[in-house]
């Protein structure tokens, strides 16, 4: 009994310390985003002046717009491409081929972002697509697709192949059968995949850094280049907003995947 108590006490302390180190800096950052003076160490009273300043900064709002539009388009596009790819992979009769294609699609998820970013940049330069909004979008779609595949594929595996056949049997043309029978069954996976893609796209810095150009900045690049010029509490405010946005998205994704089935596609996100 006593031993059990001791053990759980240690466990709780450990957990507490872990969360402290993980989230303390973020909490500090959030608090100081409401600081009324420019100091990062002294508290000068509560104010929302950095938030006001943030929303009147045109360059920042432009970058914010880029981030959001890229995230939305990348999420939608990767969700279409990824779902189609997952259906294709599931359709392979040969187990070996299936495994191979699966491994290839998973590779971008485990390989370093740096490698992805640099290689995509090289590709764009080689085929002479000028770096800018379009290449940034292409890069984001590319790195999002595997995550959609990973979250749709388990749903397809669960899906009774007989359902699609049953729809055909009742006279449904293949696309109608897909829309009416397959899609509703794998929709949770598609939406989870889309949310993951959206979150990753908002969050991405490394790949964006290498694949954009021509003065097109998204938020993370904008912050990176501004912070180098000098710290401004406005970025605290900005980081707070982004952190909360991403946290909400992650919360939704986790809630979805844990309420539906045990296999959480978010596992790959750590």
């Amino acid at each position: 009994m006593k031993k059990h108590f001791f053990k759980s006490f240690i466990e709780n302390i450990y957990l507490f310390l872990m969360f402290l180190f993980l989230y303390f800096p973020i909490v500090i950052l959030m608090i100081f985003s409401f600081n009324s003076i420019k100091s990062t160490s002294n508290w000068g009273g509560f104010s929302t002046r950095w938030y006001v300043q943030m929303f009147s900064d045109d360059a920042l709002l432009g970058a914010f717009g880029t981030t959001i539009t890229i995230a939305i388009i990348a999420a939608l596009a990767s969700c279409v491409i990824g779902t189609a790819a997952a259906i294709g992979i599931q359709g392979f009769r040969s187990k070996r081929l299936k495994g191979l294609i699966n491994a290839v699609t998973n590779l971008p998820m485990v390989s370093s972002e740096l490698v992805m970013g640099v290689s995509m940049m090289m590709l764009f330069l080689t085929v002479k697509i000028p770096l800018g909004y379009f290449t940034l979008l292409l890069a984001h779609i590319t790195f999002c697709v595997p995550y959609v595949i990973v979250s749709v594929l388990p749903k397809l595996v669960q899906l009774d192949a007989g359902l699609y056949e049953a729809a055909l049997d009742l006279g449904a043309k293949p696309f109608y059968a897909f829309r009416k029978v397959v899609l509703p069954e794998i929709k949770p996976g598609i939406i989870s995949g889309m949310l993951i893609a959206f979150t990753l796209s908002i969050d991405d810095f490394v790949i964006s850094f290498f694949t954009t150009g021509n003065g097109v900045n998204n938020l993370s690049i904008y912050i990176y280049s501004s912070v180098r010029r000098g710290v401004n509490p406005m970025y605290n405010a900005l980081s707070t907003v982004m952190f909360i946005l991403v946290a909400i998205l992650l919360f939704i994704i986790n809630k979805r995947s844990s309420s539906k089935t045990g296999d959480s596609p978010i596992g790959v996100l750590g």
Binding site: L163, E165, A167, L168, D169, G171, K180
Partner: protein, 345 residues
């Protein structure tokens, strides 16, 4: 007899080098109740899936109303299937599952409504319209699967072990219902089962299959009374199968005993399989019958007793309403026309 509705000509099917169907020749007539009967894995479902359009034959052809089915997609075929694993749409309720095919045919909502209600009554599930699929028992799901197929009034209904999940009483009820539906609606049924009793009670024609080949096609009475070989005889009911030698026409020798029979056309001294049904054997007092033996076991089966008679090591299975005590000496008698002689296979 009507014209041939479906015709299989030399159909073979291989999956990754394994032959699942071997040279199938078969025709199915209009309004026929045809049953595919065979043990698990003999290719019954595969045959059905070829008719439905989910598999293409590796070689050979399948014709429907005289036209080759090759290349006709499943959704254009005038058949509906009751799937072995139901394949009900889990995101739709009972009503929408049944109405699925009717919506595709673009019927009016009033017509759909009355059809769905009628078919629900037919399968004894009135009032289940708004139930979700997940909330139904296995037997109820099976009946919804039947309703969903039959509501489309197809030319041919393919049923893959549609009653396998039901208890005996419900199964017998549904057997009658299905048979009635088939007669009333004038639909051709192709029915898959591995239950020989079900096959015998429901079918116009039975096709007995073994490892991808057709062993025998015939009316239930023919299959039961005149099985073509020992395999069919054994599969279609309990039998005593014993090796024998055909002395000449109408005389067979088993266990050193000559027995009169009615079969002809065998070579002199040809070795054959002799099949005798347990209910065709009479147990008599010793020295009254031809074959002697000792009662080894007696089991009460409701209407009759099932007895095992040991005769020089061969164990005869006998059904009789009279009971003989274990250990008593008896003799057995079989009438000539109850002895079925088959070529060795």
């Amino acid at each position: 007899m009507g014209k041939h509705l479906i015709e299989f000509k030399n159909v073979c099917k291989t999956f990754d080098d394994t032959e699942v169907l071997k040279n199938i020749n078969l025709h199915i007539d209009e309004n026929e109740f045809l049953t595919l009967l065979g043990p698990s894995g003999c290719g019954k479902s595969t045959l059905l899936r070829i008719i439905a359009g989910f598999e293409e034959p590796t070689s050979g052809s399948v014709c429907f109303e005289g036209a080759d089915l090759c290349g006709v997609p499943a959704y254009e075929r005038k058949v509906n299937t009751v799937f072995q694993r139901y394949a009900l749409f889990p995101h739709l309720d009972v009503y929408d599952n049944i109405a699925f095919g009717l919506h595709i045919k673009k019927l009016g909502s009033k017509e759909i409504d009355s059809k769905v209600r009628r078919v629900l009554e037919l399968v004894n599930l009135k009032g289940f319209e708004r139930r979700t699929i997940g909330s139904l028992s296995g037997g109820q799901q099976q009946r919804i699967a039947i309703a969903r197929a039959i509501v489309n009034e197809p030319k041919v209904l393919l049923l893959d072990e549609p009653l396998a999940a039901l208890d005996l009483k419900l199964r017998q009820g549904m057997q009658l219902e299905l048979k009635n539906m088939q007669r009333e609606l004038g639909i051709t049924f192709v029915y898959v089962t591995h239950d020989q009793e079900e096959a015998l009670t429901m079918s116009d024609t039975i096709v007995v299959m073994k490892e991808g080949t057709i062993q025998q096609i015939g009316k239930p009475t023919d299959i039961y009374n005149e099985p073509k070989n020992a395999y069919v005889a054994d599969f279609i009911g309990e039998s005593n199968i014993i090796s024998g030698i055909m002395k000449h026409d109408c005389l067979v020798n088993i266990m050193d005993t000559d027995l009169e029979c009615v079969d002809t056309g065998f070579a002199p001294d040809e070795s054959v399989d002799v099949v005798i049904r347990p209910e065709d054997i009479y147990i008599l007092d010793p020295d009254k019958g031809k074959i002697t033996g000792v009662v080894e076991s007696v089991t009460f089966k409701g209407v009759h007793y099932e007895m095992v008679i040991d005769s020089n090591g061969f164990k005869w299975l006998v059904h009789d309403t009279a009971k003989y005590e274990v250990g008593s000496d008896v003799s057995l008698l079989v009438k000539p026309f109850d002895i079925h002689i088959m070529k060795k296979s």
